[in-house]
């Protein structure tokens, strides 16, 4: 009987604690990132060579193009609160802190960050691509991310493709294939072994910083941050790129390329994700924040 009383008391106090919390603001809540992949203001519709539905874009150099596939990797997500304090979201864990955006799979366009500490956030930072130390196709370390999409593996380089764009361009709908990824060689976790010659071109990872149009007030609310990725930038960003027919004898398929000169990966990368210095937004912008 004594014991029963004890238990009753205990459970009562537990209930009391729980109900107390209910009245307070939770210590953490979710934040949803929603990606809208567009050409300008128009959300991209994918399509094959002769698709009537696909969203067609015209580059600044006047080249018509549309996509049949569009994927990219977002990692290293950090939220910065109104006091300037950065909250890193599982930044060293691809299984719990990275995601592959795939335009053909609507469910991948949203990524839920869980347990974000209650605060007003004014800025978001993330990476397009995978930092070199994690870019190893290590299935033992990150089995979930590794198996999420095998087609985004860059097997020969044992790294990930950071962006993978397939599509068609020009009046005759010639195929275009633009893949980006890092080619630093050496050991991922040992910077001294990297090939640092022209490292800006070889390291395709870029850090993006976006100021939120209105604060994301995490607490009672679980805000949604809508991020626009305007793929008009791919050919018409800082670098104005004209896609070319392969020169005699040379083609460049999986290489990030203007088809005839595969050395231009960095132009695509900088267009999409900025140069990490004077341009830290690239094609990304905040559409709005829903609290």
């Amino acid at each position: 009987m004594k014991n029963l009383k004890k238990y009753l008391l205990l459970s009562l106090s537990v209930l009391a604690l729980v109900s107390c919390n209910d009245d307070d603001v939770p210590v953490a809540n979710n934040v949803t990132l929603e990606f809208n992949n567009t050409f300008g203001d128009e959300t991209i519709v994918l399509g094959d060579a002769n698709s009537a539905d696909a969203t067609v874009n015209i580059s600044s150099e006047g080249q018509k193009h549309h996509f049949s596939e569009l994927k990219y990797i977002i990692t290293n997500i950090r939220l910065v609160n109104d006091e300037g304090v950065e909250f890193p979201y599982n930044t060293q864990n691809l299984d719990t802190g990275a995601t592959i955006i795939d335009q053909s799979k609507p469910e991948t366009l949203q990524y839920v960050l869980s347990d974000i500490p209650t605060a007003d956030y004014t800025q978001i930072k993330f990476g397009l691509g995978v930092k070199e130390d994690l870019n190893t196709l290590d299935e033992e370390l990150f089995p979930v991310f590794y198996n999420a999409d095998l087609e985004i593996h860059w097997y020969w380089a044992t790294g990930y493709r950071f962006t993978q764009v397939e599509g068609y361009y020009g009046d005759d709908n010639a195929p275009l294939s633009i893949h980006t990824g890092s080619v630093l060689g050496g050991d991922a976790d040992d910077e001294s072994t990297w090939n640092t010659e022209d490292i800006h071109a070889r390291n395709a990872y870029r850090d993006i910083t976006l100021n939120l149009t209105t604060s994301a007030m995490v607490g009672e609310n679980a805000p949604t941050i809508k991020i626009k990725a305007d793929f008009d930038y791919l050919l018409s960003g800082t670098n104005k790129i004209t896609l070319e027919t392969p020169s005699e004898g040379y083609t460049a398929g999986t290489l990030p390329s203007k088809h005839s000169s595969p050395s231009t990966m960095v132009e695509f990368v900088d267009n999409m994700a900025g140069n990490g210095d004077t341009d830290i937004t690239g094609m990304f912008s905040i559409e709005n924040v829903e609290n």
Binding site: T158, V183, A252, T254, P262
Partner: protein
């Protein structure tokens, strides 16, 4: 509570007993194996020093190298494309993976790897330990997953025993698999050809071989230099271009268009056994290679100056060709490929 304490003791006793039993029966002793390093060979790759071949590491690596469990459907092993009697090269023009899938390039021989600073036709890897994962996961090769492989080989008691003997415990990891395979490959040293014996004054060239060696020194040695018969540089020598649009040569690693269709100069050791030749097996025979160089190669902006300055060819008389081939056959190491 009173009852609990003796129980805990019993558990502790049991566990300490079994621990002792394990340690008593297993003494970890895996000595490094001294390789005989040919004196005139180039310097060792630095990674060799961080993963020196050991008695059981080599044994484990060899078992893995020949094990078809490394492919997704257990149909091919490393040795399926790297055939020992072909100096660990392939007879197919391009590597053929599971389900008959055709790869991008001609599988290169695996020999004298410890002395190479870069691996693969375009030099995509600079550490041998980083190489095995590439064929393991490439869809046109083994199309496997390292976690699946680990699960498969964990079923095999011989492997558990070998991992324990190699690393001190039976933890099977990808890193340990890659390291063991590299250790085995480091032991594949070919340095006992007729050419080597002639250098050591234990043999003499025939008339034809001697003349071939003369021509070699005049027309080939600027690229096929050192005791490995490669200077390990990347060059475009205007060979027919791989129709696979994935192929750009060294460019895919350097991202530099100056490197388009540049490939690492291949070693000529055991060349008699490594047909077909060229990055995607363009040439069935050595005669075809020499005829092509004699007739003239493809023009390219970055064609090697040695060819460019010579009307895009290496002129060779029929006699020079047959003598060159006689010389190249003195680079055959019958012991290495298991004919002796």
């Amino acid at each position: 509570m009173k009852k609990l304490i003796p129980n805990i003791f019993i558990v502790l006793l049991v566990s300490s007993c079994s621990n002792e039993a394990i340690y008593e029966s297993f003494i970890f002793d895996n000595p490094e194996i001294e390789l005989s390093i040919p004196i005139d060979f180039p310097v060792l790759n630095n990674s060799f020093y961080t993963n020196k071949p050991t008695k059981y590491g080599i044994e484990l690596g060899e078992k893995l190298f020949f094990d078809k469990k490394l492919s997704r459907d257990n149909s091919i092993s490393c040795a399926s494309c790297h055939i020992p009697e072909n100096a660990f090269a392939d007879h197919n023009s391009k590597g053929i993976g599971i389900d008959g899938r055709v790869g991008l390039r001609n599988p290169p021989p695996i020999q004298n790897m410890a002395f190479m600073q870069v691996y693969n036709w375009e030099g995509s890897k600079s550490k041998l330990e980083n190489q095995p994962l590439v064929p393991i996961i490439t869809p046109e090769e083994m199309d496997a997953s390292i976690l699946d492989i680990i699960e498969k080989i964990e079923q095999d008691d011989d492997y558990i025993e070998l991992f324990k003997k190699t690393f001190g415990d039976d933890d099977i990891t990808g890193d340990r698999i890659y390291k063991s395979i590299a250790q085995y490959e480091y032991t594949l040293i070919s340095a006992n050809s007729k050419y080597d014996r002639v250098q050591n004054e234990n043999d003499t060239f025939t008339e034809s071989e001697a003349q071939g060696y003369q021509t070699f020194q005049e027309k080939c040695i600027s690229c096929h230099s050192t005791a490995l018969f490669t200077d390990q540089s990347y060059r475009n020598i205007g060979f027919p271009i791989n129709p696979d649009n994935e192929e750009t040569g060294r460019t895919r690693v350097s991202l530099n268009s100056d490197d388009l269709m540049r490939f690492r100069v291949p070693s000529l050791r055991n060349i008699e056994y490594t047909a077909p030749y060229g990055s995607f097996g363009q040439f069935a025979t050595l005669e075809e290679v020499l005829d092509y160089l004699d007739n003239g190669v493809l023009e390219a902006d970055n064609l090697d100056p040695i060819l460019k300055d010579n009307n895009n060819r290496i002129p060779l008389s029929e006699e020079e060709k047959s003598n060159l081939i006689a010389f190249m056959k003195t680079l055959s190491d019958t012991e290495f490929i298991g004919l002796q």
